[in-house]
Symmetry: C2
Subunit: 495 residues, 2 copies
């Protein structure tokens, strides 16, 4: 075996362990009885430690150097794979193994405390555990940043979406804040001038799940390749061929679960469409958190809330839920699904105000990592920021700084991906519409295949070959252009 | 850290990976869509390879030698733990790592083919894959046997239940065959002289599952420490605090699923009762397959089918299933649950004829490993053996040699544990009744706690401190004495 072949086998082995850990994480969220949580923390810590050991083993460094010296040849995929191996190695060797395991344990502890703190809206309860997570996470960021020449926060952000740093994000977010200052009052005024949406009657959860399963399969996720289960917050886990979607259905609100399902199915279709020839190799993975989010949001926000799709979906829902004709009329569902208003909870926010939630978190993370803010000051800084960005103030910390799990499990540098993904989704949808003139007519029949075929070719099949902006350029002819997003929002909310 | 402390940490790490693999195996049987099966084979192969690497690493051998040289001190648990570490190391280092991974892959392949072969009753379809599994498994047995001075089959049997070899098993089984030759006709004659049991009407599976959950909790497996799901063949997986029971409920036969549930709950209670102070150490594990089976069978066969328990259970079932009073009368359920008759399928066999199924498999395995029988000759040898032992002949291989998954996934040397466990269960029950005079009165109220308290102290809490016969001696005052089992059968079926 050549040095490169040995590397490929070792990276495949690490990816296999990561897949196993992914299924165990899915299990912890959907299946595991609470008596399993301490052991599960150990499982994940040990598996993370084992992949880290494989990565930092001297043989990996030796083979990397030898493979680079031999050169990757002419194949751009092979060259990208080798470069991504180097990148992963550099990031991993920057962090000592005991810091990796300590972080996994600290985040597991903090997550458990956060669940109690969230339930009781008691930030003080989780503050010490959060301080420990923050301390260890910053230490990781500093260690990686020192090697890559990045700030600690940029080092974390680079881990979420390669090459997209605070300096790239800040001006995009500032421009959006300016746009929103004018757009939100106008959208609210236009809404106020129209009839208020009629409310929907409650629908039993099994009926919702049955329609969700039909929708998943119709969108291209076959039941032989996926599962749908229930959890508190929807997510998509699993691996190609074994996609695990966890939905959150609410009898009182029979459509929010369906939209979340379309979102998660977008993630699952991306996972399932990754290039099989590069399975478990770095270049065969998803291209980062922002790209992943673009794939869920193009399904949920671009396709799923387009009027042509809502026209079709209204009939499906009315039939499946035996719903009231006026409430399930397409215009009414459209009003329900395209309503912009300031709110406290990010995951429930509409697409117009959602970026404000992300901007708040981005700025607080900058301050936390710069040391100008500490955990003790977070609740006040959060509430001030919400007031400034959206003019609302959380009545308690559950609806404020405690609402998201991310920080409590050590995820920093990640939030911007949600809004970069929303922007990329708008840009990709505009390009897909140009390339596939029948796309909207198909969506009007509940048929995602023209959109999915285009996404498979332009995004999914490219795996992790290209960075965020390079991928957008290959698919749409230009790097990220946030004006496609504001154009989309203008058409949907401001006219 | 001392050499022993380093060893303890390493063994805990290996056990953690094994626990993770156990959850993934449970997932594969209960949750995974079929598109995940190839990847799951890789997950399990890589995890098995990783624990094998940890075991055979030179540092493990060095620390073992150093810890043995230092001596374990006065604590018998510590001494047993060190001895069990040596045993595990000896067994593992006897097998090359590539043979371990090749076996995992071959058994995964064979299992998938077996599912088709079983469905279509086509032994020829799976024969080549079985030959490969058999070849690799024998190779493993020979490698281990060479180091331990055992035959290949004994080396496998020693892996299932330490120290219990073919020479221990053969005379016990011969004596049982003699007993059965007289007992079965007599039991059938006595049954024929009594009224035939009334059949039960079908019961919706959710009603059965609800009662099963109540029963599990009542037996001592709290819902915070366990799950109940569905599968084709019932099993119990998971770990202490996170027991995963997979039941098989059949609307047309509303009691067999309940008895299987009691059986699996016995396994789960053992898992949950292992000594927490030795969590993930070799001495803190279960004491082997036969001991595990004694814990499930004492619940199912000894307690669960005792008339006092049936008296109580009849009322529970009649209420939960809104059942017909005559069919759910205790005498009728007793007749249904204590009926002996020759049959083709091991897992459906009654406790009197069950050992004959095991004896057949034991003898065929002896012949396969001795080379006097090959895979091609298995179906005929199977059918001849069934005729000789029970006077019945399978109409096809699905009801014959294809019925059990064991051989197709490389499990040899294991079947005797089922009957050794049944014998041990009778012996333990007799001792528990002597020690706890209120045991039967409690069972008559559906209360397992006197039995469970005794089992926890005498069996569960001892972990893997003692071998099979030593454990029985500690709990009952004598090593395995199969006459306790034949006495039990005589009382239940022959008078």
């Amino acid at each position: 075996m050549s040095a490169y072949e040995r590397l490929a086998a070792r990276f495949a082995r690490m990816a296999t362990v990561d897949e196993a850990a992914g299924i165990l994480m899915w299990d912890a969220e959907t299946m595991m009885p609470e008596g399993g949580s301490a052991a599960r923390g150990e499982h994940l810590a040990v598996l993370a430690g084992l992949t880290h050991e494989m990565m930092v083993a001297p043989a990996t460094a030796d083979d990397l150097a030898a493979a680079e010296a031999a050169g990757p040849g002419d194949d751009p995929w092979l060259a990208a794979n080798l470069a991504l191996m180097r990148r992963a190695h550099t990031r991993a060797t920057a962090v000592p193994g005991d810091l990796v395991e300590a972080t996994v344990r600290a985040t597991n502890t903090c997550e458990a405390i956060w669940r109690d703190a969230h339930r009781t809206a008691d930030f003080a309860l989780v503050r010490p555990a959060l301080e420990e997570v923050l301390r260890l996470t910053r230490q990781q960021g500093e260690a990686i940043g020192a090697v890559l020449g990045l700030s600690a926060w940029d080092a974390m952000a680079d881990g979420a979406q390669r090459g997209i740093l605070a300096a790239d994000i800040a001006p995009v977010f500032e421009a959006y804040q300016t746009f929103l200052r004018h757009a939100l009052p106008r959208a609210e005024a236009l809404q106020a001038a129209r009839p208020a949406p009629l409310p929907l009657c409650p629908v039993e959860i099994p009926l919702q799940e049955a329609l969700a399963r039909k929708l998943m399969a119709g969108m291209g996720l076959a039941p032989t390749q996926s599962r749908l289960d229930s959890t508190m917050h929807p997510f998509c886990g699993g691996l190609p061929g074994d996609v695990r979607i966890a939905g959150a259905f609410n009898a009182a609100d029979p459509t929010s679960g369906m939209m979340a399902l379309i979102h998660e199915t977008g993630h699952g279709l991306y996972t399932n469409g990754l290039p099989a020839a590069w399975l478990r190799q770095p270049v065969g993975m998803a291209a980062g958190a922002a790209v992943h989010e673009s794939q869920s949001l193009i399904m949920e926000m671009q396709a799923g809330r387009s009027q042509v799709f809502v026209d079709w979906m209204a009939g499906e829902m009315q039939t499946a839920f035996a719903g009231d004709a006026a409430a399930y009329a397409p215009e009414n569902l459209g009003r329900l699904w395209r309503r912009a208003t300031p709110s406290l909870i990010r995951v429930d926010a509409d697409e117009l105000t959602y970026p404000a939630h992300v901007i708040l978190r981005f700025r607080l993370e900058q301050a936390l990592f710069a040391g100008s803010l500490d955990a003790a000051g977070l609740p006040t800084a959060w509430n001030d920021g919400m007031q400034q960005l959206l003019g609302v103030t959380p009545p308690n910390d559950r609806e404020g700084v405690l609402q998201d799990i991310h920080w409590y499990v050590g995820i920093f540098g990640y939030f911007p991906s949600y809004s970069l993904g929303a922007m990329a989704a708008a840009q990709l949808m505009a390009a897909a519409r140009r390339a596939e003139p029948g796309l909207d007519a198909a969506l009007g029949q509940g048929d995602f295949s023209p959109l999915l075929t285009w996404l498979k070719r332009e995004i999914h099949a490219r795996g992790n070959l290209l960075g965020f902006n390079e991928l957008l350029r290959a698919a749409t002819g230009k790097p990220l252009d946030p004006t496609d997003f504001t154009t989309h929002l203008t058409q949907r909310y401001l006219i």
